[in-house]
């Protein structure tokens, strides 16, 4: 009897301890979630407060009863936010499309075509991954300036058209496609290019989509290179635009309008993320780093 009661007691204690541990875990995780989400909440909240009510709050309030959209109209009218958006969209689309063409061709050559020095060249390509951007950006800036390409889309786009890492990723994927398909196509007299477009690209589509999304995120957030090669606001991308807005946009005090611009700039990527959540997280864990 005694031992049985002891046993029940031990079990109950263990259960209590487990529950406490779980509650503690949930509390900590929830706390970090709060830290992550709070800036987003605050920017949305601030963006719907009116200018006068924001500035009259010495102690900021955590919600507002009279939301307004006037800041959003102001964000699009007082500063050329729509123009920044358009520039970024053009930049992102052209860069991504060009890059996809370049890396697909290269990955195909490395995975399917036989030529002398293939492995050596591929190792050479891979070793380029170690070069940090900071080292090459100086000469690139001089090159683009000498070619008279500052404040043009060409100048913005050219240096970011290739990525060794994506060539590597795609080559691995291409190599997993059985050779038999290739030989069968050869017998039928299909050209290499046609085979690449009709067979390999469709099969490798998931990888191509992952690469596209990662590149779009990278383009959308790029700041350093655009800042170097553009100094006319007609060519600003959103990152440079928001910096411009901060320094001499609405006037430094108009925080709500600034936050409206921030919301508008952040939204596309967040929507993209929520739609392609698994693809993005898988792609990033396979080799993306921020920056």
């Amino acid at each position: 009897m005694q031992t049985q009661r002891d046993y029940a007691l031990i079990e109950r204690n263990a259960k209590i301890r487990r529950t406490c541990k779980n509650i503690f875990t949930y509390f900590c995780l929830g706390f970090w979630a709060l830290i992550v989400l709070f800036p987003f909440y605050w920017m949305i909240l601030t963006s719907v407060k009116s200018y006068s009510s924001y500035n009259s709050e010495y102690i900021p309030t955590f919600f507002t009863l009279s939301p307004t959209l006037e800041n959003y109209t102001q964000a699009f009218t007082a500063v050329p936010l729509a123009k920044y958006f358009l520039n970024t969209a053009i930049f992102t689309v052209i860069t991504t499309v060009l890059m996809l063409v370049v890396i697909t061709l290269a990955a195909f050559a490395f995975s399917r075509l036989d030529f002398k020095g293939r492995n050596l060249l591929f190792v050479g390509f891979l070793s380029l991954m170690m070069i940090p951007t900071e080292l090459v950006v100086i000469t690139n800036y001089v090159t683009i300036t000498n070619w008279d390409l500052r404040n043009t889309f060409t100048g913005l786009i050219l240096p970011s058209v290739t990525s060794v890492f994506y060539i590597y990723l795609l080559k691995e994927n291409f190599e997993s496609i059985p050779d038999n398909l290739y030989y069968a196509a050869k017998v039928d007299g299909t050209t290499d290019l046609r085979y690449l477009l009709k067979v390999m690209v469709p099969i490798a589509r998931p990888t191509l989509i992952t690469i596209t999304i990662l590149k779009v995120i990278e383009c959308w957030n790029s700041f350093v290179w655009p800042r170097l090669v553009t100094d006319e606001s007609a060519y600003y991308l959103v990152s440079n635009g928001i910096q411009e807005i901060r320094e001499n946009g609405f006037g430094r005090e108009n925080i709500p309008a600034m936050m409206a611009a921030v919301v508008v700039i952040s939204l596309p990527l967040i929507v993209l993320f929520l739609v392609f959540r698994d693809k993005i997280m898988e792609g990033v864990s396979r080799g993306g780093t921020k920056g």
Partner: protein
């Protein structure tokens, strides 16, 4: 393959490779060589296209430039604080995540959000949260005073306060990647080890130190190495918080110094910029090598 015998068949692979070779050659290989040449061309000015000789003058100029020393100090503090802090925190969070299957996915989604945000844009939100102006204390200061502390302007105030915001923002930005990597590597630890430990009645602390940590140690070292590299190159986060004139705010980083030398207020000295970039590269390379040596000794693969 018969096709390869024809002259066209021989050059065809190279046609496929031509675009990538051209782009990589022009914008990656040539600049890499060129940056070292620039760094030895003394005092080369971009506007006048003149310099005054070959030698180590650029390096000594940069190493004696108070702005560079400030940038170096800031970067080292940033690295020393954010790398251990973010790695440790993300390890704790990942351990927490792996112990609760129920809401794991929702939490993971939330935690990943900072990765897909524009560093410059969200930096503004942090700025207004920490800033103290004439008409508002700012939210963080309000919290500090509520707990009995004294408010301080984190954006234009004392050095330590500015450094603190920069560290907080940097940690906020780099956490998603680390949490993602650690959670997936925790999930891939073979469950048999845990079951065996359970049978033996091993305590949970011992399980962590003897099983979990050794199993994920390669990934932790990977994160520490990439964390070091990333933190040494930080720049956008500082711009987001303190604006583009970082020298005036005493908040410049090494990368910021490179860009300022190249373009901006100090105006067009690629040779000084190159020297600073090479110095940064050497620092990062040294630290990466040390990390690799240490990890060889301590990591179980």
């Amino acid at each position: 393959m018969a096709q390869n015998e024809t002259p066209f068949g021989k050059i065809k692979p190279w046609l496929y490779l031509l675009p990538s070779i051209l782009f990589l050659g022009f914008f990656l290989v040539y600049p890499l060589i060129d940056v070292f040449i620039y760094s030895f061309e003394e005092g080369y000015n971009f506007a006048s296209q003149t310099g005054f000789g070959i030698g180590f003058y650029n390096y000594s100029y940069v190493l004696h430039d108070p702005y560079f020393l400030q940038a170096l100090k800031n970067t080292l503090i940033l690295v020393a604080i954010t790398v251990p802090l973010s790695t440790g925190l993300s390890l704790l969070i990942s351990l927490g995540l792996s112990s609760i299957p129920a809401l794991k996915k929702a939490f993971q989604t939330i935690y990943f959000l900072p990765y897909v945000t524009n560093t410059l844009a969200v930096g503004l939100v942090f700025m207004i949260l920490f800033k103290k102006t004439a008409y508002s204390e700012g939210l963080i200061n309000l919290l500090i005073t509520a707990f009995g502390g004294e408010g301080v302007d984190f954006i234009e105030g004392p050095y330590w306060a500015k450094m603190m915001v920069l560290c907080i923002y940097t940690v906020w930005i780099v956490m998603p990647f680390k949490i993602l990597i650690l959670t997936s590597s925790l999930a891939s630890v073979n469950q048999d080890y845990y079951n065996a430990a359970k049978v033996d009645g091993t305590s949970s602390g011992r399980i962590f130190w003897r099983i979990t940590l050794p199993m994920i140690s390669p990934m932790i070292f990977y994160l520490i190495i990439t964390g070091f590299i990333g933190a040494f190159k930080s720049y956008s986060d500082a711009v987001a918080l303190f604006g583009t004139n970082l020298n005036a705010a005493e908040m410049n980083t090494i990368v910021g110094y490179v860009y300022d030398m190249l373009y901006g207020n100090s105006g067009g000295y690629p040779s000084y910029a190159s020297a600073a970039a090479v110095i940064l590269f050497v620092i990062v390379l040294t630290i990466t090598c040390i990390n690799l040596l240490v990890s060889k000794k301590n990591v179980q693969y």
